[in-house]
Symmetry: C2
Subunit: 363 residues, 2 copies
């Protein structure tokens, strides 16, 4: 390489480092970090903020909550956030003029994802939105359009896609480690108690499929690399009383893909059970279990090269940190996230088809 | 105990040992063992005969095969069976006059189960028939009727029911070890190669559901203690060519029970994968895996009393030995087997409903 070329390359690299793309939407950022406002200060946002505090690429610099007076002080103190970067739902749109916030993390109840994604986009802020993306495919489409129209990134928080062990599983399957891929069986089962917003259809949009079943559904679609086109499903509620008056307790479904891949999966809010994904091929299989918790990811199986067993060494909330870092990289380098809005839309379309097959249309 | 009582008791015990009930259908049997003719001398009968050779309650004393000249000599020599107790399909009915055969074990292709069960019943021999019981519920009903009409026992060879570890699992679930039972997820996946009779619908009656999927189906029905009434299913064939020209490669299905228990399960002849059953309750769950192989049965889980992990110490073909011994006890004591013809019929009805739901009616 000629010295002149090397100089040009160095200058380019330096520019890429010191002038992140998000500077177009916000004031220059001396830290070089992507600066998030957390929207919604419930359990999932708490985890996300803890994850970001472990990141070298991101920071929490703003807070948005319907109960900001009550919930914000703890985090203001923890992250050194001034009152001028704390918003409630009425003042949220003022975030547009805040030069210390580049992006929002949306950890609200599902029914509020679309509204706050669109308001953030209009405010010129990039959006990392929790799954499920929204409560209908129409909302998902509106979110994709708004982010495109306002030239901000939209990523759905599918933390599984950013875990090196999950990426290894996907790559093994795609590279033929279990022969030709033939099918999947998955599930995610864990109790929710009365009073949680996820049991209120107005806020949640759906039952356990929207919160738990979406994990094996998304992992199956991701690893398959194609979209399911034929569905069957049944829902059931065995526990009587008000707890499951609004959403079903359990759902089991089957999906068929254009290549004739066949999958079954399920989820429940009324029972303990596994969080697992079995991936079956013509010459072997992988059993991922536990598959979808915050830590403890492990897979075992039989491949064309013999038995395998591997666990992720990551400690919670490492998947959230990796996810946030990916989003920061995408914003910085103007790249499309690995799980863009279109990925959330595809899951939403599948979930709508599953509920329709079960005789419980979502909308 | 008075000496006179003891004498009476001893005499009774001696009578029970030396005069088994099956002596009503056959000549007195000096060994006190239930004497089987194996009908069909393929792989499964080979395993059964090995299992019986480890039993103190049963013996192999006859052989029936369409290729008796070729297949019988090995077993005649092994078990000391005279030529007079070897039959082909034409001479089979002559078994009626054979005083050294009390019962038959039917290890034929599925499509022949009904015919040979009914012919054995007419010959006055008790019947232990492999699963699936037959290839249609109409056949199952005819088998039950024939055995009743001719006053012989009919048992279907559901070996799982006779494994102490499986019985423990069932009893744990029924006694509330995982709270209220809410759901199941099961599956059994293993390749079959072109040329095997199980891939020929004329002989097999159905695909992997009839041979593999019946295991989780039966275990679910058994542990649930009720019959499924609502089904969905999809079949798929991904591997092209003649191998799966006759039966489907894979099937996944869901079942709902009157109590609102929900289950999913599946099976495949085209892929490797698990043989497992997840049993989920309101306060815990059990994962049985491997669940349905000849040995290695293991379960782990979480119960109301904490974590559990247990493996069966049994070595193949111990489940077959226990199954044969149970049948011998039932014949000896004139009791109905734990898995009578009605149990096979119930599975057949469920499998017919599953295939119907998948758009592939069996008959």
């Amino acid at each position: 390489m000629h010295r002149r070329d090397f100089t040009k390359l160095s200058a380019f690299a330096a520019a890429a480092t010191t002038l992140p793309t998000w500077a177009q939407n916000a004031a220059p950022n001396a830290t070089g970090k992507l600066r998030f406002a957390a929207v919604g200060l419930g359990g999932i946002s708490d985890i996300f903020m803890r994850a970001v505090s472990q990141s070298e690429k991101c920071a929490i610099t703003g807070l948005v909550s319907g109960h900001a007076e009550e919930k914000a002080p703890k985090y203001m103190s923890q992250f050194g956030i001034p009152q001028t970067s704390v918003y409630n739902y009425s003042t949220f749109d003022g975030i547009a003029g805040n030069p210390n916030i580049d992006a929002v993390y949306i950890g609200l109840p599902n029914s509020m994802h679309a509204e706050y994604t669109i308001r953030a986009a209009k405010a010129g802020k990039h959006v990392l939105c929790e799954k499920p993306m929204a409560i209908s495919s129409a909302e998902c489409r509106a979110m994709v359009k708004a982010c495109k129209d306002h030239n901000v990134k939209l990523m759905i928080a599918y933390r599984v896609h950013y875990d090196p062990t999950w990426i290894k599983i996907r790559d093994m399957v795609r590279s033929g480690a279990i022969g030709e891929l033939q099918g999947f069986q998955g599930g995610f089962y864990g109790p929710k108690q009365q009073g949680e917003w996820r049991l209120d259809k107005k806020l949640a949009g759906g039952g356990s499929l929207f919160d738990l079943g979406i994990y094996p559904l998304n992992a199956i679609r991701w690893i398959a690399g194609e979209e399911p086109t034929s569905f069957t499903a049944q829902t059931a509620t065995k526990i009587p009383g008000p707890r499951f008056a609004s959403v079903e307790e359990s759902i089991e479904f089957t999906m068929k893909f254009p290549s004739n891949l066949l999958a079954s999966s399920g989820s429940s809010y009324g029972e303990y059970g596994g969080a697992y994904l079995n991936i079956c091929g013509t010459q072997g299989s992988l059993q991922v279990q536990p598959a979808f918790f915050y830590e403890g990811l492990k897979f075992t199986g039989r491949t064309v090269n013999g038995p395998v067993e591997e666990s992720s060494p990551g400690k919670a909330p490492y998947q959230f940190t990796l996810e946030a870092d990916h989003f920061a990289d995408c914003v910085r380098n103007n790249r499309t996230p690995a799980t863009p809005g279109e990925e959330g839309l595809a899951d939403q379309l599948a979930m709508e088809a599953i509920y329709k097959a079960a005789g419980h249309p979502v909308a």
